[in-house]
């Protein structure tokens, strides 16, 4: 209320000066360094590649035609599967953890959440490197297995899809737990009690009340994990060797090795497209949840 009043109170000319001074620099900066670059990507996606890299300004749909080539579609499908598996695992691991945090005594909840986020603040490359140390043929896990006599020879766990999924999971798990916690924390405890009073067993209350009400958190967390997973090229390269090529690797190669920028632009738009679809799903779901409430 007070905000509205103070807005009305300010005189017209000062308002315009204020608007210009505050919104001007940011608006200009983001136009130049965000909107224009994205527009350039869209434009490039319709252009021809130059013979020696670069772009020739001749409109064409060729890049899009190449993008629906089975070879690329398979990589896209692989990325979606690896990203999807990562997201599913994050959900399965993250949900009980987030739920457990909401049931902690109040004063422990915030420290428990901070402990989830803290590793996220360390360098992403080093966190990925830690898994090389762990899963390598000469690594900790291999050594441990030999020590307990499960195997006689060094075993390598790296360079397959599994290690890529583990690396992505490790990188993005906190991004699943936070929105899940936020959603679970918002649920009115009275609903649990009501359900119990009406005779529902705890697990039934969990399935019929808690899970549906936490759906927005599940969607948000899934988007936060899935979108960066499929665009990631570091984990597939470091932990996947040459075994798992994902869209991110392909984009990197088009821009830095093959120097086919128009095709790289189309590939990156495919990630944006996937993200848009998920955001629309989320918006529809939010609307529905609100309609119920």
């Amino acid at each position: 209320m007070t905000k509205r009043l103070s807005k009305a109170d300010r005189s017209r000319p000062t308002r315009w000066v204020g608007r210009l001074l505050t919104l001007g620099p940011g608006g200009l900066y983001l136009t130049l360094f965000l909107a224009v670059p994205l527009a350039v990507i869209v434009t490039y996606s319709f252009m021809r590649r130059g013979t020696f890299g670069g772009v020739v300004y001749q409109p064409t749909l060729e890049n899009y035609r190449r993008a629906v080539d089975p070879l690329f579609l398979r990589i896209l499908w692989d990325s979606v599967r690896i990203g999807g598996l990562t997201t599913l695992l994050a959900l399965l691991i993250g949900y009980p953890a987030a739920f457990a945090i909401t049931k902690l005594p109040t004063r422990w909840r915030l420290p428990a959440l901070v402990a989830i986020v803290l590793p996220f603040w360390s360098n992403f490359l080093i966190r990925t490197y830690a898994w090389i140390v762990l899963l390598n043929r000469e690594g900790i896990l291999s050594k441990a297995l030999r020590a307990v006599g499960l195997t006689d020879e060094p075993v390598g766990f790296l360079y397959n899809r599994g290690s890529v999924v583990v690396g992505l999971l490790y990188a993005y798990l906190p991004l699943m737990i936070l929105p899940l916690y936020a959603a679970l924390d918002r649920i009115d405890p009275a609903l649990d009690e009501a359900s119990a009073d009406l005779g529902a067993k705890p697990w039934r209350t969990f399935i019929r009340v808690t899970v549906p009400l936490s759906l927005p958190g599940m969607t948000a967390g899934s988007i936060f994990v899935f979108v960066p997973s499929i665009g990631n090229f570091v984990v597939p390269e470091l932990l996947g060797g040459g075994q798992a090529v994902m869209v991110g690797n392909l984009i990197r190669d088009q821009f830095l090795r093959a120097r086919d920028w128009p095709f790289g632009a189309v590939l990156s738009l495919s990630i944006v497209g996937l993200m848009m679809i998920l955001l629309v799903v989320q918006a529809v779901q939010l609307k529905r949840t609100r309609a119920h409430a």
Binding site: S6, L23, L34, I101, K143
Partner: protein
């Protein structure tokens, strides 16, 4: 309050184990004399010595420091102004979305967009191009942090100042700015940390021959086990954790969690 169900402890402890065991192992290995993960040959700080005499790492660190400081200063100023504008002068949902967009767009998309844009306007790639690129996503985070701070303080204080005859500018410097200062500082710290750790955008926009700390780390870990990296991991972790603790003092744990 609902009783804590005892079995719930196990999934939670499992997650903490998953998150922390790799980091702890790196930290322990950083003091291993042999530098190898398989054989403990005694306690040593020699890898820290090696780290601080590694020219590549030091040069990368210097570039990263320049980029992070520059990007933080610019993003903090622009982002704070933007937050003020969005909170006080705008009701446009579209502008809200625009201000948060750099944090939402996948980093690889922003990275190649900026690379293409720089190349198109023939902007020389190097430290400055990385710095400008980092300002872009930092603006989003600074704006978000400062906005919550602006949102949460009692705006009648500003009105009182205006009613008492202070000009809008004077009110800003004497009332608003001191009140949101902790938020601005926390935003600056966040922006600095994000910039120090950022890899993908720096990787694409740095140009030939310019290395930031993360791009140095990348080329090192690509060649397998490098003991100096363990020491570096501990140093960077210490830095990040300090920043988290300091921002917690400034704005409370709640915001540290929300901003990650």
């Amino acid at each position: 309050m609902p009783r804590f169900r005892r079995w719930l402890v196990f999934p939670l402890l499992g997650v903490y184990g998953f998150l922390y065991v790799p980091i702890v192992i790196l930290a322990v290995l950083s003091f291993n004399e042999s530098g190898l993960p398989t054989a403990w040959t005694g306690f040593s700080t020699k890898w820290y010595g090696a780290l601080f005499s590694n020219d590549l790492i030091l040069r990368g660190a210097r570039t990263t420091l320049v980029v992070a400081l520059g990007a933080t200063v610019l993003a903090t100023i622009i982002g704070t102004l933007l937050a003020l504008g969005l909170e006080r002068y705008s009701r446009s949902v579209l502008f809200d979305a625009f201000a948060i967009a750099p944090a939402v767009v996948p980093d690889i998309v922003l990275a190649i967009g900026l690379l293409a844009f720089y190349t198109m306007i023939q902007f020389t790639l190097g430290t400055v191009s990385v710095l400008f690129a980092h300002v872009t996503f930092n603006i989003a985070f600074v704006t978000a942090v400062v906005r919550t701070r602006l949102h949460n303080f009692d705006q009648q204080l500003e009105e009182a100042s205006l009613d008492l005859g202070a000009t809008e500018l004077r009110t800003f410097f004497r009332v608003t700015l001191p009140l949101i200062a902790p938020g601005i500082l926390a935003a600056a710290l966040l922006s600095f940390t994000l910039s120090v750790d950022e890899f993908v955008i720096a990787f694409f926009t740095r140009g030939a021959g310019v290395e930031t700390l993360p791009t140095v780390i990348y080329s090192m870990v690509r060649f397998g086990i490098t003991p100096e990296i363990n020491a570096l991991a501990v140093v960077l972790l210490g830095l990040s954790f300090t920043v988290v603790v300091v921002s917690q003092r400034l704005i409370g744990l709640r915001r540290v969690v929300d901003n990650a």
